[in-house]
Amino acid sequence: MTDNAAAVAAKPPAAKGGSRGLNVAIGACAVLAVLGIVLWVVQLSGGMIQTAMRNLDSWGLYITLFMFFVGLSAGGLIISSVPKAFGIRGFGGISKVAVMSSIAATVAAIAFVVVDLGQPVRMWELFAYSNLGSPLMWDIIVLMTYLILSCVYLWAQVRNERGKVSHTALRVISVVALVCAVLVHSVTAWIFGLQQSHEMWHTALLGPWFVSSALVCGTGLVLVIAIALSKAGYLSVERANLVKLAKLLGAFLMVDLYFFGCDLLTEAFPAAGGVAIVEMLTSGPLAPFFWGEIVLSVAAAVICFVPSLRTNPLMALAGVAAILAILCKRVQLLVGGFQVPNIEWPAIMTPSTITNWQGNLEQAYAGLVYWPTPLEFGVALGVIALAVGIFLLGIKMLPLKPAPGED
């Protein structure tokens, strides 16, 4: 997982070198993306047996990162659209960059679904034979809409700056985009939350919680980007705005932790099946991710809330910590969902049963039930590079710098 974080973190220095550095970074992203595609072809031709996913843990890194990038995509759009939708002061000229980050993250989310498919060439069926009752179908629709809306919104902002689109129109678009952003997280949550088969996922809280988590990592991302781009001289954001963002991040973190607490309490209180899940998180195989999330969230919140700590580097650190905390959350959710089987009675094990199939089920579940293979990391890195590349291309090609007087 740290690879992804590294990829995100690697961006600011890349941008630092100005246009040459930017070009190099875009080139590097392109190379990684092509490499990812090559690995994806390897995965498709040689079979997904090369991934660590198996029947009893049938989703892995890709769907984890799908959830994660859907979340990341939120922040930008929301940060940018809320002020416009409600007609309040914004965060100082980062609106378009923020939306650009949303677009890039959405592309990554969609790409992660695609690389997870066994039969991507049959994707057209999604439109031909749509089962509108399937949460995955909802998500595909909402994600596509969201991507298009983000682009439209970005375009509208630019046009607005040039006086081609009215403020009212922009405001309408921003409201629609905001609704769509909330929906996209809820629907993503419902892919998991509507499955009664995984006790860990099956909670009404999952929808709002996804929204709150999305706000955490999205805000974190915008904060990091804002500081980085400021440092790179691409734009200048007032410290007050950064502090505002940080405070917001702190608040979102608190909400997210509150939801986490609610969920844990609800799972554990009946002292029934849910206890297994709480134990798995707090002291079981997922403990590093659980405590990782808690520690990172608290650390980020402390930076956000203690005035003396709100220096630029520390706030950037808080942003990164918040992003990583949510990544930990995603891992817990996805792997955790498969970590507790409904029926754990032992039976024949074959190489397609479960990742660690060469023992009994108890042994397979003793540690992390799933850990990705290098191929999966490679494909994931490619997808992330694609997203980063798109973002950097946006920075390079599009007029994303703040318009004079923009707030």
Partner: protein
Amino acid sequence: MREGKVVRVAAARMEERDDANYRRICVKGYAQPQRLYDPDRVKYPMRRVEGTERGAGQWERVSWDEALDEVAAKMRAAVDEYGWPSVALWNSYASCGVLNGSGAGSVAYGRFLSRTGATILGPGADWAQMFFAYALTLFMGNDIADTPNANTILVWGSNPTDAYPADWQFVCRAREKGAKLITIDPQFTSAAMHSDRYFAIRPGTDGALMLAMANYIIDNDLVNEEFMKARTVSPLLVKGDGTYLRASDLGITPQEGPVNPLTGQPTVIDPLQVWDAAAGAFADAATAADPALMGDYDAMGQPVQTVYQLVRGKIGEFTVDKAADICDLLPDDIEWLARTYATEGPVYIHTNQGLGHHANSHHNYKNLMFIAALTGNAGVPGGTPLGHAALGFGSFPTNPLPFVAGTEKSLDICGMYLPDIMETGKWAGKDLPIRVLWVNNGNPLCNESGRLELIEAVKKVDFVVTADITMTDTACYSDLVLPIPHVFESEDFMTMSFTPYPPFQRKIVDPLYECRTDLEILRDLSRRLGMDDLYTKTDEEYLREIMDTPANLAHDAGYDAFKDNRLVRNYTINDDEVFIDKFALTKTQRLEYYLERPFVRNNFGQEVAEYERYPYYTRANESYWENPLREKYPLFGLGQHERYHVHSQLATTPVMREIEPEPLLRMNARDAAERGIAQGDYVRAFNDRGSVVLKAKVTEGIKQGVVSIPHGWNASQYVEGHAQDLTNRYMNDFCSNSCFYDFLCEVEKWEGGE
């Protein structure tokens, strides 16, 4: 069948009256298409590469001509120098087909043996039970289909769920009618799982439990005296020499009876005597009003006593407490068992060979007969001490003459003696230089007990040839391996069957590769040996000669009927009655727990001990609690019939190995914990004879202190060694049964590999 290939196997439909009882298939049957096309099959005659060690695994393909020329040359050389007994045919139970099956009961081998007098080396497996039932007493027990008549079912020394799955449904039916199910087994089988009570007995001590039950039944007046008097040997009188008192002993001249159709001689009528308490005198057993069960009497000067009295005098030491100690059971449990056995009959004891794999095993069968005699749990619907698929032994009538082509008498001994024979060059004091070994219908170097000794003996034989369908462990130690076909590839007929439908083996597909049947091979070989007239007929002609007896034809049960129809019912089996053994075949026409004239299976001059006559318990050879060897090797060995094997058949059949990829050593979880062994660890089981490295299956499904080795796996499927390397070649010389379970060992975590 599709496009010339067998693609699926299903159970045959039977006549409606039989469908519920006898329609059957099991997991191994369903897997047959994969056995037929098993990639591991021997495809061509293979010769050990010149200059390589036997067992080194280096083979070259040869033509049938080359192969059989070599066999003929080796046989001729041996025969010229030492005579035909120097050629030995080592076989087991793989087939009992009338054309290609084991030993003297087939055209292929029967004609060859009766013409040449070559030596037969038979299996040691299962002879404890078989020798008692089929040689000493001719007591078959009730057929499995009688189980639903039982009030209590005692699964003892059998595994009707894994080893004999066709039996299980009958047990289920009985249970659904309210019968109690009890399992006595050191291993927790599926049958044990379904049982009302389960008793984890220490291996090899069942005989002591039986005698303790007998004593408890006697001491608590639970004896069915009426049954004892009328249906068992109990009131018969025994003379000092152990034989029965007959009318002639009392001065009454025997009379001539009807002519025996087999011998053509008149039978002798010399009635067995009992003491008629009503008359106060000796009387014919068949007519006495009130035969005495106990007592010493004077028969014209010689002291006699009843069988019951004699036996009671012999078994008294086996009290409930003593047996509890020996068997590692609670005294209360033994009493409960005895009481249940005596009072909740009829009791059907479901037993196969699980009681027969120790050196003391053969006594178990006398002991079982004794407790059945005491309680009347024999010869009645639902009640038998030997319950299993018995129907088959009323086999389909055929003409055995085609099995004979000469008058030579072959020496027929247990193959387990091969090491002794190779060591001394003698059998029973006479020279027996075995030079050529022809292994057929069996895989002794994988399946028999005491594998390492057998391998050493095989290595001493000049020339070893094995005919088999796959490259078995025995084939691996041969000089020449001859490919024979799967049952779907050749026509044959089996007279023995566990259903009323004798299996006619239809040729469904042509033999694959270069496979030839045993009969074809011997046909060719006999010509090379100058016996052109040994097999003059075609397979079909032989089958017709065997099957088309006038009686069979009259019942439309000849070759054509079998060939045309899918199933032909054995017309000698009574329509709807289930087979209940009412002792019609025993010499005394009574349930026999006493052997008047015990004899040994393989006579090499050994004495028959007195205790062979009566119910008895003695410890096993190696696997017993007090054995000082337990300090070094504390674990009792055991084995089992594997669910996904037919002995070593199916060892490499893909789907079976997908379900169960590798051999597992079952060991108790507490024993494993003491040794730092976790589920799925590789372990080394060893004793002074040998060792094996394999995966451990840690389970509470086996008694503490006991480990169970897997059965039927090829040497190549173990990490190192072979499970049978732990086992012992020692046999008691009374019935010469392989003692698969009679061994001790220790297990340690295996640190090699990775």
